[in-house]
Amino acid sequence: MSNMINTRIYFDKIYALWLREVKVFFREKSRLVASTFTPLLWLFVIGTGFGTSASIASHSIDYQKFIFPGIICMSVVFSSVFFGSYVIWDRKFDFLKSVMVAPVSRSTIFTGKTFGGMTNSLIQVGILLVVGIIIGVQFSPFALIQTIVIVLLLSFALTSLGLTLGSYMTSLEGFQMIVSFVVFPLFFLSGALFPIDRLPQWLSILTMIDPVTYSVDALRNIILGMGSHSLDLDLIILLLYTCALGTLGTYSFKRMKAV
């Protein structure tokens, strides 16, 4: 009986922290607009612009559709890593302190926040999927479920990464650096914008280290039916990254100073 109550209390805490993130996300209209607008800009401007000159050799496919899985991952990369910066805000406005002084363990705070970040990413991906249907990308209901699974895994991994970075940093200015040194490399090296089959070796190695590569490839497998690796391999590597980054994030939250 008391076990049941404790379990309920545990999930209540995660629910409360998650709900707060989601409410704030919807109330901060500029967040929603800005984070949806950038991927659309890429999809339409780069997608159309390069589409007229770049030929995706041997893949007889329209460039805009080719980068569509990459743009989905891009939106997840940006929103998830950036989500970490809200930890800095929460600390600046002492909200985080009020949570840390409650009888809530650090790993619970981490979990609640991560779920919040994942939900935010999922909402943006939802908008992009609708746009995808409009531009003529077709996927079955099963493919949709697979897409959501991949998005959630990637988002979990990168939200953990963002929260880890956020837990170590004290200034928002510092977090801007993360954009240059983390977000852009993760995105550009993932092969979101180009096929990764015939890259020079140095670049090929870098793309192999990037977790985003495997989610882009997985989504290409799922949505376009073309990938460089098998879907199973993509999924396994993504899972490994998810576990590793989740553990790192939990550890970082445990050692984070409250004041």
């Binding site: 209390i9 707060r20 409410k23 002492d94 909200f95 009020s98 949570v99 840390m100 009888p103 363990s105």
Partner: protein, 319 residues
Amino acid sequence: MIRIHNLTKRYEKLIAVDNLSLDIEQNEVLGLLGPNGAGKTTVIHMLATLLAPTSGTATVNGFDIHTDPEKVRSSIGIVFQVPSSDDLLTGYENLKLHTLLYGVAPEIREKRISDALDLVGLTDRKNDQVKKYSGGMRRRLEIARGLIHNPQVLFLDEPTLGLDPSSRETMWEYIKNLVRKEKLTIILTTHYMEEADTLCNRIAIIDKGKIIALDTPKKLKSMIGGDVVKLKLKTEGANIDNLNALPFVKKIDCVEGYVLLNVDDAKKNIPEILKHVEAESVESSSPTLNDVFLTLTGRSIKEQAEGGFMERYVQYDKH
């Protein structure tokens, strides 16, 4: 209720809290009074398990801050110096969030939220986002939040910092009301003498991380020699020897045609004095806690703290 034993917090070169020991009884309102940087907030943070002490220990509600931090946190409510509610959420939503974080049972959640809102007078604004609240309302919401899980101990860290005088007095009324209604042990930090004087049963004057005096406000003030009563006698040079015999009169001076008496509790004893002499006019003045601080340290709390740059900066930064 709270036992602090040799608590110390040392930063590289600075000792913020220096070997501090203090016992706080149940249902007591204890004030930590001292200038900015005296170490008051550091003490609170250590007791709330937000900051690990360098050495020493404390128990809160019987739980050790080192070995039982979660139980300590369940026992306490805390109002931080800078309001910490999420201003995109409504007052109600902020309170709801904290009932969940504190594991308040589902069947009493709504009742506790509405009671807390009533207590701080925010019921009619509960569905407004906190960003629309005034500074005073934000503080009151913090108090409601601090009380939502029915804690045994409430920490108020500079509860009226940055508020205008009338909001400050409203806030005092709410705190007094709280002390009357709830069974609570309250620890309040402040650098406002008047605040400590009106709200606290006992005051620990703290300077450079050490307690330099600990007593009731009245006794602290009587340390510096009681009240001064200034009399203008009807007939100059009248015999005032009989005043010497009164037990509460400590000292008599005659200055420029006035008689200055140093007495305990002037308010109570003036009628008694007037039975013995015929006076044209009577004035009395009481020593303030600032006088006490001045006597103990040779410095004034006021000149370092009132309307200081940091205080204005904090306000500016927040809004």
